[in-house]
Amino acid sequence: MTRERLKDVGLILLIVLALAGLVLHSTGLLQPLEDLVVRVTAPLQETMSQLASKVGELGQTVRDLRDLRQRNEELQAENDRLLLENVRLREIQHELALLRDLLNFKQANPSFEVQGAHVVGRDPSNVQRYVILDVGREKGIEHNMPVITDRGLVGRIYEVGQGWSRVLLIIDASSFVSALTQSSRASGLIQGQEEGTLAMLNIPQGETISVGDTVFTSGLGGNFPRQILIGQITEVKRKDYELYQEAIVQPTVDFQHLEAVLIITDFAAIEPEEGEE
């Protein structure tokens, strides 16, 4: 047989094998062979597949990284904006709470005509206790008007200008307020002390006062309205040989953090003399 004839036979044999393969596969007889081939090539396929997948993932990662970086910048900018907004809103919330307290006080005490004011400065020295407010004559503020917050008595208007006024705080040594204790109705004179507390002086020896007693303005002397809360007694100083007893009073107003006050504008205070109010 010539070479050419052998090649032709070979081709015909291949076609016959292919047809035989089709028939054998459809009958299921090729199954064992197919299983063997798959079992042998599967690990390689798996490896190749994983490699292809990883390469694909790498490409995706690079794309994702670029997108993430951009998204991160956008989120950072948004975060900064929200942070500032948050700070601003917290301030507004704080201001709102402050003003709500003052409004509640005003609503609970409708007999008072009041003007709200913010504290914008304090006395530059340690030995005086004044604060500066942002309202003055233009709002009808006058000398000696009582100043309060929802927590109690703050002081009185000491000086008035156009657009400002100065308040003498009750914790200043030159401030005197006529007061009463709530339980026993003992009367006395409240004077400011250096450490920011108050002393209730000239309490008659026969009066019963105790730690925890609440102290209010008595209205005596006419320089403050009655029944404005001043503070609470924290210590009683009594000596049998003295005519009067004294008490230390912790003010209810936090003078260190005073931000907003109310000025009672419809109370006509009597001008205090030295040493008495």
Partner: protein
């Protein structure tokens, strides 16, 4: 230093003193920036300028303070003048000298201030004021002296002494 600089500077410092410094208090006591500046400059430049600085700062304080007008002007002018007597010894000495000067100046200033306030009719609790306010604020001012004195000394060396040499 020219008044065109001194007046606005001390006015600004006093405004900061009323609007900001009280909120930085420690146990209710805060620093006295105008006093620190007056005494520091007085130690550097002498009693005449110390008097001028004390006067200007005192007027600014009196305008913004609730105390009788003149209390701070008088007290600070005097303290500025007296502090200037220490000028000759401040150069080449330890920072302790300005610290001590500020401590003593604060005590003298506060007591003078209270005296003027008392004379003008306001009540003063002398012992309480001395123990609870004057001495603690003198200590605080002394501790903070380097923060004011050293920058002023730098300004003095670079600008004022150079002017004098010219």
């Amino acid at each position: 230093m020219t008044l065109y600089i001194v007046v606005p500077l001390l006015l600004l410092v006093t405004v900061v003193q009323t609007a900001l410094v009280p909120y930085l208090s420690i146990w209710g006591i805060f620093a006295d920036l105008p006093l620190l500046m007056v005494v520091s400059w007085s130690l550097l430049q002498g009693r005449r300028e110390g008097l001028v600085w004390g006067f200007v700062a005192g007027v600014a304080i009196d305008v913004l303070s609730g105390a009788p007008f003149g209390a701070a002007t008088l007290s600070l002018s005097l303290v500025g003048f007296v502090a200037g007597l220490g000028q000759a010894t401040v150069f080449g000495t330890h920072i302790a000298l300005p610290l001590l000067a500020v401590f003593l100046a604060t005590v003298v200033y506060d007591l003078l201030f209270l005296l003027v306030v008392r004379v003008m009719g306001q009540q003063v609790l002398w012992l309480d004021s001395l123990v609870r306010t004057v001495l603690p604020s003198a200590a605080l001012n002394a501790i903070l002296t380097p923060l004011v004195f050293l920058p002023l000394r730098l300004v003095h060396r670079h600008f004022v002494r150079k002017e004098m040499e010219i």
